[in-house]
Amino acid sequence: MSVVMQSAMNALNPVKSIGAQFKDALQAHGKPSKQEIATRSAEVMRMVGIDPVHLKSYPHQLSGGMRQRSMIAMAMLFTPDLVIMDEPTSALDVVAQRALMVQIKELQQTFGFAVIFVTHDMSLISHFSDRLMVMYAGQIDELGATRTIFDRPLHPYTQGLLEAFPSIHGPRVPLRGIPGNPPDLAMIPTGCRFHPRCPYAVERCTAIAPDLYPVDGDLVRCLRRQDGTLPRADQEGSLSR
């Protein structure tokens, strides 16, 4: 298991070359020979599409995209089964972001590891993830296959989140976003944690804390969705884009 951090600027040691940092990681997990270190480091760099000469480079000599890719290379050193990626693309511009996502997907399919991809950019993961877990105030709100959630979000928060993104295609429509502010986790609302911002909240939402209920093959934390009193997004024209 390995982790790829959000900001490649701060996650790499600025005073050591990339190769030296790979060596540190390899030596912390065993006693490889110099030869083994060199071959493995060059291998993983090639995997992510960086010329192995950059093993001698220092982080400041690389661009943001290359730094992020060398972080991924470092995560690949021990052929992990699970890679946790915490917003690996948020510091990159859209073009580099797209290139990196394609790369991650290719590596994932070649080596068969699982990825937990932590992000706030819903549109980014729509094409790259299999399953989607939406969190709100420390709890899972909705869990299901990515495409199904995008096609018919069940939880009001997921609906709001999908509506909060303007699109570059189609008509220019005014968007509402989600009213209110993210909750203060020191003072969590009673009942459903989303009820102060939820347009569909009814009285019992303020009192009863909902569980994750199975609805349509997905799991969703919403009282009104569970008993079917909430209008379906795909049947309500204003909500589906």
Binding site: S63, V95, H120, L161, A164, P166, R172
Partner: protein
């Protein structure tokens, strides 16, 4: 629409390296554009393309290396006295990217607004200042009780609204908003974008909206300027630029924007933005451009109007050929 601000061949270079180094970084090179009254102009481009440098030059934080800025027809280089400088700063305030770092945490929120009123609108008697502060807070959607809060009591979205309220207190003509929503939670970004549209429609303020998020630019802006490596690649009415992009870089940018409702587009580009240190003549996009011709490595392209109000700096597009470098 009458013109509010215009730049002519605006250029800003930075010396880099040690004392003896002669290398210069061309952050902004020969940029000419204008902003009209009641207009939101989006300035888009990747990191390092010179967007923020333009904002800082317009805010008079940096002096331009060459070129000139005209505000309401008068050149900025003619500003000599402190009074004229203050007047310009109050007409063209800036809203910063990070709402957590741009408000003084040890004072109540009203402190910043009241100081602005005292400095920039001295004609306002002390008693009236609090009323005026409450008024601008109302415009940005904050209650008057917020004035007494400390910044730590406010959420990111509320703080950014304070940033706009502070700008608004100066009765500005043009607000320079440098990535005002990129640090905010996605669920409240739309609220801020709607606020920007409201300021334009109801308060008659123009906004230079600096962003790398094309979709949000499309949501609020009237015109789009796409920057690449310190130069303007393309500019024009936003719908026109997005539907008929003329510059290959704009096409690349649009093809990379993720859209959950569209099928995944194939982008082959892995290229990196160039570092603009001591550039030679020629188009700065030519290394990544699949359409580059010989002329591109010899002559720097300049903006030329290809459609009404829609300009692009591309030799291929200017020959009249159809440019389809990257499908979106």
């Amino acid at each position: 629409m009458s013109e509010l601000l215009r730049t002519e061949h605006l250029t800003r270079h930075f010396k880099i390296g040690g004392m003896l180094s002669r290398r210069t970084l061309h952050a902004v090179d020969d940029v000419s554009f204008s902003i009209g009254e009641r207009e939101i102009v989006a300035l888009a481009g990747e990191s390092g393309s010179g967007k923020s440098t333009i904002a800082r030059v317009l805010a008079r934080v940096y002096k331009p290396t060459s070129g000139e800025i005209y505000f309401e027809g008068k050149p900025l280089s003619a500003i000599r006295s402190r009074r004229d400088g203050l007047r310009y700063s109050s007409l063209v305030p800036m809203v910063f990217q990070d709402p957590f770092a741009s408000i003084n945490p040890v004072f109540r929120v009203q402190h910043g607004v009241l100081r602005i009123l005292k400095l920039h609108r001295p004609e306002l008697p002390a008693k009236k200042r609090l009323d005026e502060a409450a008024r601008v807070f109302g415009v940005v959607g904050l209650g008057a009780d917020m004035l007494q809060r400390f910044p730590y009591e406010l959420s990111g979205g509320q703080r950014q609204r304070v940033g706009f309220a502070q700008a608004l207190a100066m009765r500005p003509k043009l607000i320079l908003a440098d990535e005002p929503v990129s640090m905010l939670d996605v669920s409240i970004r739309i609220g801020l974008l709607n606020l920007m549209a409201k300021l334009r429609d109801e308060e008659g303020v123009s906004i230079l909206y600096i962003t790398h998020d094309i979709a949000s630019a499309r949501y609020v802006a009237d015109r789009l300027i796409v920057m690449y490596a310190g130069q303007i690649a393309e500019s024009g009415p936003i719908e026109d630029v997005l539907t008929i992009p003329k510059h290959p870089y704009t096409q690349l940018l649009l093809s990379a924007v993720p859209d959950p409702m569209a099928p995944l587009s194939q982008v082959s580009d892995q290229g990196e933005p160039p570092k603009v240190v001591d550039p030679t003549p020629g188009c700065r996009f030519r290394w990544r451009c699949p359409l580059a011709i010989e002329k591109c490595s010899a002559v720097t392209p300049v903006l030329a109007e290809l459609r009404p109000g829609h300009e692009a700096a591309c030799h291929v597009a200017q020959t009249g050929a159809e440019v389809r470098a990257f499908a979106s």
